[in-house]
Subunit: 332 residues, 2 copies
């Protein structure tokens, strides 16, 4: 199969922490070849991919214009790791697909974009179709654990009475930037203020819920979303962090909605510095019931990188357009 085919030529778009991890991981994949790179940051101006991301990578110029990068090495797919929100990246995505590049993006909102941004969604889809290329939102949460995986599993159920997904994520095993993003070590009032301002938290829980509901064919009512800091009851020393009792260890984020007939979808994400036994659980009440546990959880940063790499061949082969929902059998 893929082993017999030529490597997919990829262009790295965005060389932040995740983008750089994608570039490093791509190097060890026989099915991918890194041929171009783009990042407009002043710190990387004039550098090459190996200088920015690590020794051993190809010495490709890191361009500060997409068009210049796209002219290097005839890339087939852009691996895009720039931002979470569609308004921040729409022009970039449209420029990429219009240049004839398939795109795999980490942008969380693109997992289920049509509710919040129907017009931008239509523009991105149309640009991709017009160019005959595919754009796919990869990622693990959102992207798999709380949305595409339960939709896939729903094909095992004759009847579904409710779906619950809960993740307990160990911030002690995650990148430092994520810990800062989740308020680790901060004062609880400070984190509450940042929650009020909408400047903290996990992006994509609402998108996961909308994606899952759509995949099940459920019309859901309003989504009840809750976000609160997790306050430490004792001092916690972990992963180079030192958080005294009373300070923030992470966040607890939930989203709940119901179908018109009352059947619930409940998503719960707890990320904390001291979650030494992380676990991800998908439960479907119904006939038959399903109770699935990922023991030790799913390592989010690595899995996110993986979904991007594994999306490259997929977008090359797929029908043109914006793909959010996978073409798989799903339960009613």
């Amino acid at each position: 199969m893929s082993a017999e085919r030529k490597p997919v030529r990829v262009m790295h778009v965005g060389l932040g922490q995740i983008g750089a991890a994608i570039a490093r991981a791509a190097m060890n994949r026989a099915d991918l070849e890194s041929v171009a790179a783009y990042d407009p940051g002043p710190a990387v101006a004039g550098k090459t991919l190996d200088e920015v991301c690590g020794e051993g990578l190809p010495a490709i110029a890191v361009r500060d214009r997409l068009a210049a990068a796209a002219a290097d090495g005839a890339p087939q797919v852009a691996l895009h790791a720039v931002a979470s929100h569609i308004p921040d990246i729409e022009p970039q995505l449209i420029e990429l697909v219009s240049a004839g590049l398939n795109v795999v993006t980490t942008a969380e909102e693109l997992i289920s974009p049509q509710n919040r941004y129907p017009e931008a969604t239509a523009r991105i889809d149309e640009a991709a179709r017009a160019a005959g290329v595919t754009i796919f939102a990869a990622g693990v949460n959102p992207g798999v654990l709380m949305d595409r995986l339960p939709v896939f599993l729903s094909s095992l159920c004759i009847r579904i009475d409710g779906v619950r997904v809960s993740r307990l994520v160990d911030l002690g095993q995650r990148r430092e930037a994520l810990r800062r993003k989740m308020g680790v070590g901060a004062e609880s009032d400070d984190v509450r203020a940042r929650i009020e301002a909408g400047s903290i938290g996990h992006v994509g829980l609402i998108e996961s819920l909308q994606h899952l509901a759509g995949g099940l064919g459920w019309q859901i009512g309003d989504i009840d979303e809750q976000l609160a800091p997790v306050i430490g009851e004792t001092d916690v020393e972990r992963a180079g962090e030192s958080v005294p009792a009373g300070r923030v260890l992470g966040l607890h984020h939930t989203a709940v909605a119901r179908a018109a007939d009352g059947r619930p979808i409940e998503l719960s994400l707890t990320m904390r510095l001291d979650a030494e036994e992380p676990v991800d659980v998908v439960e479907i009440d119904g006939e038959p019931p399903l109770r699935l546990r990922f023991e030790g959880g799913v390592a989010g940063d690595q899995a996110t990188v993986a979904t991007v790499l594994n999306g490259a061949r997929f977008v090359v082969d797929a029908e043109p357009g914006l793909i959010t929902r996978l073409p798989i059998p799903a339960g009613c």
Copy 2:
């Protein structure tokens, strides 16, 4: 989504234990409408679907010719539950697709048919394409747990070093016919003789392994398949069965193969009368590692019925041809 669309009109092909369960379950699904039925058995001659499968079902005539059934109620999809082996059903499948019916079948061998029956596979695919319809092999084992699910999960891995799937199935919770098929209560020498003769055991383990290897893009060597009776060490009384020590409680079936570089795929299926804590486990060694457990296992008969029902809308919407591998992102 599906809730807004008209029900898919289905024709039931085969009204044995699984076929009848499909017909009963379809009755409670708003997305499906049973409009036709076929079974050539003398016991059901001249009867209607409700007489054969249970009260409350529509009083559709059970026809003894496919063409007569296909003329009832303009069915869009045949739900086919007749036999496991492709040579036994190829003419029927070709007749169904040639009559313009999409097909969802429980035939285990059709999950990965190209290795054992390349010519029949090509004929079935070609007939479906010529008629503009889709044929899909549903099922849970084979069909999901040991093949499509690990392929789906492989998208979470940057690198895969090996895959293991093991199922411990409780025959005490399964249909009586399956217990007989698995040798429950028989003498061990008798079961060993039936294993030698190839007349006992689970159909589809090899197909699962081939499907999984193909989905991962691995070229595998010879498959080492082992099948042995599980002998009871004490008397077992369960589910109306009484099996003295020394007799057969079920079967243990394994299949192992390796990629050219040594990476293993290991499938293990243990079905026994006394498996009071059934569990299904999928493990992927790699980066990141994944360890997933279905607590309590997946109820096989119900889940098989579900995959058939949920396949109906899928085949209506899918591209023409024989679909075995789902079009999803998969790991390297």
